[in-house]
Every structure is written in C-alpha cells, then in structure tokens.
Amino acid sequence: MSAWLIGTVQGLREETPSARTLHLDVPGWMGNEAGQHLDVRLTAEDGYQAARSYSVSTAGSGQMLEISVDQLENGEVSPYLVHGLSAGDKVEVRGPLGRWFVWRPTQTEPIQLIGGGSGVAPLRAMLRAHEMAGSTAPMRLLYSVRSPRAAFYRDEFARLATSGSVRIDYVYTREAPPDWPMPPGRLSKEQVAVLTIPPDKTPTVYVCGPTSFVETVADWLVELGHDPANIRTERFGGK
C-alpha cells in the first residue's frame, strides 16, 4: 500500500470549468473502499518532487479508479492534473490510504453526507458503493456548491436521486438555478437542520470540503445534537 505505482490516464471528463475527473488504470492497485484517498506524485525534470492527496471518487475491487481534481490557485500539482494531462500519460500514485473517512456496505445505520465544493468526491464514492451493494441503509447527501455550473457529477446525481435509493439536496452559495426556491447564500445552521437526517435517528455523518466549511458544519452538527463520535470529517484546506 505504501509503494508507488504507475497509473495510466485512460480518460478525462470535465466536471466544471476548473475541475476534471481522471480515469486511471493502475496495475497493482488492490481496489479501495468508499472514501479512501491516494497520493499523487509528480517529478520535475530537475528531480524536484511534489505529492498531494486526492480522494478516490469510485469504490470497489480492480485497478480502474477515478479521482476528481479541482484546480487550486498557485497549486503545485492540481494545475497539471487539470490542464496538463492527456489520455495515455502516466502518473505515480500510492494507496489506497485512510481507514477513518470510509463507508462500508456492512454499516446499517442512516448515513448523512455533507459536501462542500469538490469535497463531494469521496461522498460520490460512498453513494456509488451504496448503490452497488444494494444497501437499504438510508443515505442522504447535502451538497453545498457555488453555482449549478460548479456542481460535480450532476447527471449521475440526478439519476441516483430519481432512483429513490438516496436523497440529494443542493444548497447554492453564489448563483442558483432560475426556478430555485431559495436565494443563493452561504449554507446556514438552519438549512443543515432542515436538510439532513435528524440527530434522533443517530446517523453517521461524513463531512468533506474546504477546512473552514468542514469545521463550521461539524460545530453546527454538535450544536444540533449529534454525538461528536458519529461525525467524521475530512478537510482539504483551500479558502
């Protein structure tokens, strides 16, 4: 798990104007659980190396996987992954990593997922694993995103929501669709209270997004009555 493997880019899909999903074929990858991540390492011609951690946005056995990368301003690694890579290119990866921010199909309790921006990537892996396993555990996603254009996995989420096995709610922070009932604005504690599984159902809650988003939401969840032991967080820095 700690050895560096060589992955080949099989395909690329634009998620938003600044983010792409990379389909990687990684010989030696032993499969991964939903929510795990990997390290990507880039080596410059002069030998300088930079590594960054990205969530795997798929789950399951096999050596095919996807990561979704949002370009960070002044980033060392993400601009190359979003703009510099083409099909057939190689990248070094290491993983799967992480046992904490993971959902397993053996879990039967209700699951609330809360994602901010590209923090939805590991939650997408959980939604897919939930569907693949035919899990009957209630699962719900609250997705806070800047605008409809900035939303990841739109078509897939629309299909999942229509299938009825999960519920997906969007909160738009800057720009909402024309017919949206709520004006755009930052996610509030009141919205979290209304749009998530209540504490008396004792859900496990997974929160992933920019650090400030995750810490704010996690504090609200505790104030709303969730047991801190049932809240799992992943912060990726950012704003």
Binding site: S2, A51, S212, T233
Partner: protein
Amino acid sequence: MTTHVDGNAIAGVLMEIFAVDMTDSRGECTTCGDVAPFADTRVFMQAPGIVVRCRSCGNVLATIIDEDGHRRINLQGMAWLDVAH
C-alpha cells in the same frame, strides 16, 4: 495557501513511518487530554516539515521533519498513541 488540512492528508507519510494506516489510530494530547484519531488532527504542511496539532487546544502533538535525507519524528505532544493494526 497556509490553511491547515487534517490527518487524512498525511496517511501516506504516516504509513512510511509506522507501516500501517494510522488514520484511525488514537492518541491523547498531553496538554488538554483530548483523545482523537490521527484523521481528526489539524495538520500544517510547511516545508520542510509537517506539524500535527490537537483539534481541541492546538497543542503540537507531533512534528515530522525531512532534512538531508533523514526524517526526524517528534511525538512529544502525545501522552500515548494506540496503533490500530
């Protein structure tokens, strides 16, 4: 970009040191007594090193410094560390 991340982001580095995935391993802060998994610590990535701080009180739990081909690990801020196999 100086915002901190969390212990999930250093799972790979921790695996190099401990040879197991440490994200769900718990430790106790020597300052405030908070017990948390590595995943739920605050991590500051500042070349040439990594600083791991307590989520509750900000105490430095650990530092990992790479220098001249060596890696120096200081775990002084933890009373104990329970390694989950």
